[in-house]
Symmetry: C2
Subunit: 269 residues, 2 copies
């Protein structure tokens, strides 16, 4: 990541603390985005990166939770599943996804978890003019982001959702969980099925030498192809779809749309 182009007041003893926990952590954009939010709103708070190995994640999160001036915790790869185990209450979408990316302390001292990946992704699609209600959507990748996107799509009224993942166990687990709530509208598919919207929620495309996560060759012209990868902004998948005349939707809005959701969740004025 390049350095941010802005400055914040130096923290003092009365600054409220927020953390984003992940591994690796160098690439996370949450510090820049949330610190910009605090700055714009004149809130005396700072969000800092916290790198934690899987072996230490429980102790790191439990330690953070005991910090009196902690305003909240964001959680990123690979700790979103583990994060659920550190909350007393899960939101509906975090429960559906079995994955959380935000933890906050309630007035009674208990901890709540929510997951805004999917809500941010859906908000970004809607803002770009792509409806999801009533649509047939194909999701490739049932990892940390994929599970949240699946839950958010269904909560937003997606008619039929097809889920594909190379890990058949987690693919089936997610499909089964969603099918309990939305019977007949979820299918697990070992190969991606053509849909109104095709979403890559795998890491395939992060590396320049990566193949495409799915072929765009035979998709109908009305198809929207989306990739949650933020860097590069235009992945090989999106470039290929664009070359075929398809509409494309990039990864960044999923994150930027979450900032307002985080703000509300953390009750930042």
């Amino acid at each position: 990541m390049s350095a941010p182009a802005f400055a914040i007041p130096s923290p003092t003893g009365s600054t409220r603390l927020y953390a984003v926990v992940g591994n690796p952590i160098e690439q996370v954009m949450a510090p820049s985005l949330m610190n910009r939010l605090f700055l714009d709103r004149n809130v005396d708070a700072v969000l800092v990166p916290v790198k934690a190995e899987a072996s230490g994640i429980a102790a790191v999160i439990e330690g953070l939770k005991l910090i009196g001036n902690l305003g909240g915790i964001l959680v990123t790869v690979p700790h979103k599943f583990a994060a659920c185990g550190h909350a007393d209450h899960l939101s509906e979408r975090a429960e559906l996804a079995q994955s959380a990316n935000a933890l906050r302390r309630e007035a009674d001292g208990s901890w709540s978890a929510d997951n805004f990946d999917g809500a941010g992704f859906v908000a970004g699609l809607l803002k770009a003019g792509y409806a999801v209600a009533g649509k047939m959507i194909s999701l490739v990748g049932a990892g940390g982001a994929g599970v949240s996107i699946a839950a958010a799509l269904m909560l937003a009224g997606t008619a039929d959702l097809s889920i594909t993942d190379v890990d058949e166990q987690r693919m089936a687990a997610l499909a089964d969980r969603l099918a309990q709530r939305w019977p007949g509208r979820i299918r697990a598919s070992s190969m991606p099925i053509a849909g109104d919207i095709m979403i890559n929620a795998t890491p395939i495309g992060l590396q320049p030498e990566d193949l495409l996560p799915f072929s765009v060759d035979n998709l109908p012209p009305r198809t929207v192809v989306s990739d949650i990868i933020m860097k590069p902004a235009e992945t090989r998948l999106l470039a290929a779809a664009r070359a075929r005349g398809l509409r494309v939707h990039p990864g960044l809005p999923m994150l930027t749309e979450q900032i307002e959701l985080y703000r509300q969740f953390f009750r930042v004025p």
Copy 2:
């Protein structure tokens, strides 16, 4: 605390993290001082305040220690004694004081603790032109700062040290520990004894209504009276000593002199 008069670059995912742990935490000056240091040296790091109750201090420190991008931990009231228990190695002065205010990770993954309160205090005295080697010094207060000052004074060559504390047990414990190393040169005294330098290391004087921690009425004219309290900058003790024509030494240098010691300890370039 008033807001600092300077700004720092917003933290990003690659920013190194430092924490100062205490309770209360609002008054700590370490964030302003250390963030100024990082800024001046163009180091991508931020020091943040961490408020921790005694009941949670072990979990908070152990959690911090597992953070991969943590550069180090400063510890302040009331956790300096507990901090020793979280280090694999204690410096000589931390061992003597049984108190630590800084923890760092070594190359082998172990943790070292040191205590710079006393060294900072002594450095401030020396810089102000007050020698301690060969002197008779009277220290009132054997708490978190007092124990460290006692150890640093003796390591700097103080000839005779008198220690007073209302808590007779901790007064005797400190005196006994130092007397093992410097037999015949340490005494525990229930009432402060006149010395070349008289040091208040109690919290008496933080509140406007506080009485003096010791009387300055019969001190010889050559006496230096020092107070480790930083706010107010001139305590009632120092005002009374000054009114009697005695030389006085305030609390702030103890902290400002520590910044360079922290820098070296944390290997900040």
